[in-house]
Structure formats: C-alpha cells, structure tokens
C-alpha cells in the first residue's frame, strides 16, 4: 500500500485523468497534500523578511542612482555644505554626518560608562531582590517612545542647559545627545550584563584564590574576560544612537553645520529625512531624492555596525565553550 502510493505520486501525472485523481484522494494522500502546502505557506512567511531586506536595498539603491546621476558621488561624500532646499544648492553630506556623529559621540559619553557601571552593579554586586526590581524599571525606560524623549529634551533638559550656558539656542546638540544617551542606557546595561554574567565562576574563584579583592576581580578579571560582549553592546548602542530620529529632530535642530560645539543647533541625517517628508517637496525631484541618498548612507553605516557587533559576539561565544 505504502509503496504503491508513493509510486503514483512520483509517476508522471500525464496519463491520470482529473476525475481519477480526485477519487484517489485517500486520507493519507490528502494529508500529504495538506502537509506540503502548509510547508509552502510557512516558507512564504519566512520569505517576507528576505523580501523586506531586498526591498530596502532596491529602493535605496535605485532612487539614489537617480540622485547620483545629477550629483557626483564624490561631491556628495566630501562636500561640506548641505543646502538642497536653497536656490544656491549644495549636496555635501558631511554636515549631516557631522551632526549624527556628534549625537553618537555625546550620547556614548553618557550611556557607555553609566550603562557598563549599572551592568557591573547588577551582575556583580546587587542582591537577587534588587536585580528583580531594577531590571523591569530599566525595561520601562527602554520602552518609552522616542517622541516622548524628544519632548523631555525640549521642555526639561534644554531649559537646564540654557540656564547653565546663557545664550544657547532652543535647539542644541547637547540636549539631543543627553536624551539619546539616557535612551540607550538600558540597551548597554542589559547586553553588557548578559556578557558579564556569562564569565565562568572558575575565573573569579581563581582570582580570589590569589588574594584579589572584589574590586580587582571585577575590573581585572570579569570585565576583561567579557570585553568582547561589552564591546558588542557598545557598538549596538552607538548604532541605535545613529539611527535615532524623533528625539534629535525635536531637540537638536535643523541646521546642517560643520561644527564641534554642542551648544549650537545642528542637523542629523535622520532629522533631515524627517524635515523633507514633512515639507511640500514634490515627488521625483532631485531635492526629494536626497532622502534616499541620505537614507542609503544611514542604512550602510548601521548595517556595518550591526554586522561588526555580531562578529564580535560570535567570537566571544567560542571563548568559553
């Protein structure tokens, strides 16, 4: 029975008439048909994620190609003026890149030490009770929408900065950097804590055995041993800061500028994309296409950072297996 069935199935469908196939649908064959089609449908679900990536790449590359036909790619990557909306048009992305890197740098100054510090505390010092209460609070911090952080920067952090440094404008890089820093603390903290907790007990015990204090065990054994995991969390957090949009749009301003002063208004790549899509720029114009070119740069930078972080994590895993 079993062999006969598989034979009809693998045999050429040509000579078998339709009515015969229909009447031949024994429960067993019907089941195989169902099983096969379910496999196919589920495969298509998985395929959607690949299509998403393909879609992102195709859209960014084809629209940017139209842009680069009119603006030389060298001018785009090395120009120091960005003014697509003015009559004196310039398409140098460096001011936007500069703004983005300032936010990434400023927020790292806050989030990396504080995030690592809290990861060390939670992994090495805190009691189970404290950990159980603190971690959900950090999760809440991570779950607050970015537009809320933007509001917080604008109405709380900016006034404080302007009191300390009178003459600072409403929009300044410092406010955006601080709030993005607060936003990415939970990410650094939770990923670093995973890395610290994964360091085997035996390493700590050995260090205690030769007379190290807890401080020395933590800073000279545990942190160095988990360095790659910590580094991976740092890179992911910086990548997140680079892609962050709403908080910097609200707080850091809309002035593309080659500056290093955190008290000036700047513009990030993400904030520029938002600015164009809020405006009335007609579809298909060169000005409109800038968002795809800027988006492509943003996508490539964050993708490279994520891949780097994965690469580091993979090596780290092999270390103690």
């Amino acid at each position: 029975m079993e062999s006969a069935e598989s034979q009809t199935e693998s045999g050429a469908p040509g000579p078998v008439s339709d009515s015969l196939v229909a009447s031949d649908l024994t429960p067993h064959r019907k089941r195989r048909l169902v099983e096969g089609s379910i496999n196919g449908v589920l495969f298509l679900c998985g395929l959607v994620s690949v299509l998403t990536t393909v879609g992102i790449v195709v859209v960014l590359v084809t629209e940017s190609a139209g842009f680069f036909r009119e603006v030389p790619i060298v001018e785009f990557l090395t120009g120091t003026r960005w003014s697509p909306m003015y009559s004196d048009q310039h398409f140098g992305i460096l001011p936007l890149l500069n703004g983005t890197l300032m936010i990434a740098f400023g927020s790292s100054l806050i989030a990396l030490p504080i995030g690592l510090g809290s990861a060390i505390y939670l992994s090495e010092y805190a009691s189970e009770n404290v950990r159980k209460r603190v971690k959900p609070a950090l999760e809440v911090l991570a779950g607050i929408p970015t537009v809320v952080y933007g509001y917080f920067a604008l109405t709380f952090i900016t006034p404080i900065i302007r009191t300390i440094f009178p003459g600072t404008g409403i929009f300044n890089a410092a406010s955006g950097a601080i709030v993005v820093g607060i936003m990415i603390i939970p990410m650094v903290s939770s990923l670093s804590e995973d890395a610290l907790s994964a360091v085997p007990r035996s390493l700590r015990a050995a260090a205690y055995g030769i007379g190290a204090t807890k401080f020395e065990v933590v800073t000279r054994v545990v942190v160095p041993a988990s360095l790659s995991g910590v580094a991976a969390s740092f890179i992911l957090a910086i990548s997140r800061a680079i892609g962050e949009t709403m908080a910097v749009t609200l707080a850091a301003g809309a002035t593309p500028r080659m500056t290093l002063s955190f008290l000036e208004s700047i513009q990030t790549m993400t904030a520029y994309i938002v600015q164009v899509s809020l405006g009335e720029t007609p579809h298909g114009t060169l000005e409109y296409r800038t968002i795809f070119a800027v988006g492509l740069v943003l996508f490539v930078i964050t993708l490279l950072m994520n891949l780097l972080s994965q690469q580091i994590t993979r090596r780290f895993r092999e270390q103690y297996e």
Binding site: I38, F43, I56, I120, V134, V140, I144, L236
Partner: protein, 289 residues
C-alpha cells in the same frame, strides 16, 4: 632583596573597591531617577489639560478646544491592523524556522537576515513603506500603508520571540504526538502551538507596544496631523498619538507643549496597559510549565 616585605595595602584596596561599588550603584540609580523625573515632568505639565473632553474632541488651533479623539482612534486602528498583518506572518515564519526549515545555507541566511533587520533604524522602514506601499502598491497615505510599514518593522521581533516560545516546548510532547501517528502539522497545531501561545502572545504584544510608539516611519509615509474625523476604513487618511505629540511639541507655544504632555500621558497609559497584559500572560506561562 630580603629587606623588602610585601605590603598588601589592603585598606586602600578595600577603599577603592567601596568607592567603585558606590559609583556603579549610582550608575544603576541614574536610569531610574531619569525615568522618575521624566514621568513627573510629563504628568505635571499635562495634568491641566487631561479631561474627558480632551479625549473626545478633535484637534483644534485653539489649545483649549483641542483633543485627541482622531489620534486615539488612529492608534487603535493602527494597532489592530498591524497585529492582523504581523502576527500570522511572524508566527508562520517562526514555525517554519523552528519546525520545517532544513539546516542549509538558505535557512542560515534567513536567520541572519532577521537578526540584521532588527537593527535597521525605523526611519529606513519609513522610506521603504513610502516607496513600496504608498507609491508602488498605491495605498496612498492610508492606515493600511502605515500598518503594513509598521508590520515589517516589528516582524523581526515577533519572529524572534515566537521562535523562543516554540523552542521552549518540551521534546517529549512532540515525540508523544508523533508516536500516536500525528503528522508534523497535526503535532504543531495540537501540541506545540497551544503550549507556546502565551509566549508568542507576550512577544507580539510587546512588539506592538513598540509599534504604537513609533513616529518616524509614519511621518515618512505621510500621516497627517490635522484630522477632524475618525478613520472609517483601512484606506482612510489617519493620524496617531505619537504624530499628534510630535506636532504639538514642535510648536513654540507653551500651551501646545502642555497638550503634548497630556497626550503623552494617554499614550503611556495605553503602553502600560499593554505591558501589564504581556506580564500577566508571561506569569501564566510560568505557572503552566
């Protein structure tokens, strides 16, 4: 050589350790203090405007008459449609990867791809949605275009969470089902999915709560801010709470800032309710296993 004695300097080393411990403690507290300040700041700014009228009025140019009815309804529409699209797709992909996928290069590519998509900035999804859903598929600036974009955005999170829930189902259940002659799909449908469902739902709700806080992708696809009517179909133009908040917060007048704060309180309450549901489900799951 013999004259030198080892000096452990234990007191100084212990003191360094204590200072370090308190610094780390301060770092831990910093995040929580910031969270508290943020919540107090927003609530105190927005409390004045919070009322039933605020929830049931449409936006207005006059702060005292402004409300968030269209934004709340838009957010609910967005939540429902995004769930309807991302849940079946995400769970389907997770089942495929955990139960069906052969261990070949393509499966590895799928898995790596999903991990990478989770790290793509949300505004890039907005660019994709604008080009594909708004223009190519001709959805225009509709709820459907927004929900489709947000679905792609949360899909990696839904898939990864569902995969973890499915992986946690004990092997014995699967073996038992096979032993009784079940096919693979019967085994998944009647054994794996019921056990994994609380975990899957928890992950889906958490990712949806991320979706309804998203602003940038919806600005990209052209959500409007001045909508004086509720969405009536998936093809209606729409606004959502985060867009309304962004619009009010970016105006110079203090009254609009306070309106933004009031809308933030409403948004945070919705998010809190969703997170509480997810935690309840998670606890039920723990009891079961």
């Amino acid at each position: 050589m013999t004259g030198e004695r080892f000096n452990p300097r234990l007191a100084a080393r212990k003191r360094n350790g204590t200072i370090f411990k308190w610094l780390c403690f301060a770092a831990t507290i910093f995040g929580i203090v910031m969270l508290a300040i943020l919540l107090v700041d927003v609530t105190s700014d927005g409390l004045r405007w919070l009322s039933i009228d605020f929830l049931t009025r449409y936006p207005s140019r006059i702060p005292a008459r402004a409300g968030i009815k269209s934004a709340i309804l838009g957010t609910l529409w967005m939540m429902g449609l995004t769930a309807a699209i991302s849940f079946p797709l995400g769970v389907g992909a997770a089942i495929y990867l955990e139960e069906y996928a052969p261990g070949n290069w393509f499966t590895r590519l799928l898995q790596t791809n999903i991990a990478n998509l989770a790290g793509v900035p949300s505004i890039v999804y907005g660019i994709l949605g604008l080009a594909v859903f708004v223009r190519f598929f001709g959805f225009q600036r509709s709820v459907l275009a927004g929900a489709a974009t947000l679905s792609l955005l949360v899909l990696p999170v839904v898939i990864i969470a569902s995969q973890e829930a499915i992986r946690a189902v004990p092997r014995s259940l699967r073996e038992g089902a096979y032993g009784l002659g079940a096919t693979r799909w019967q085994m998944i449908r009647h054994q794996v999915l019921p056990v994994a469902m609380p975990g899957i739902l928890t992950g889906t709700i958490l990712s949806l709560s991320r979706a309804i806080g998203e602003t940038a992708p919806l600005i990209m696809i052209g959500a409007l801010t001045f909508i004086a009517f509720p969405p009536t179909s998936p093809m209606s133009p729409f606004t959502v709470l985060p867009i309304q908040i962004f619009n009010w917060a970016s105006r110079p007048q203090a009254d609009f800032h306070d309106l933004a704060a009031a809308a933030i309180v409403v948004l945070l309450v919705i998010l809190l309710a969703m997170n509480a549901t997810a935690i309840l489900l998670r606890n039920r799951l723990r009891k079961q296993l």
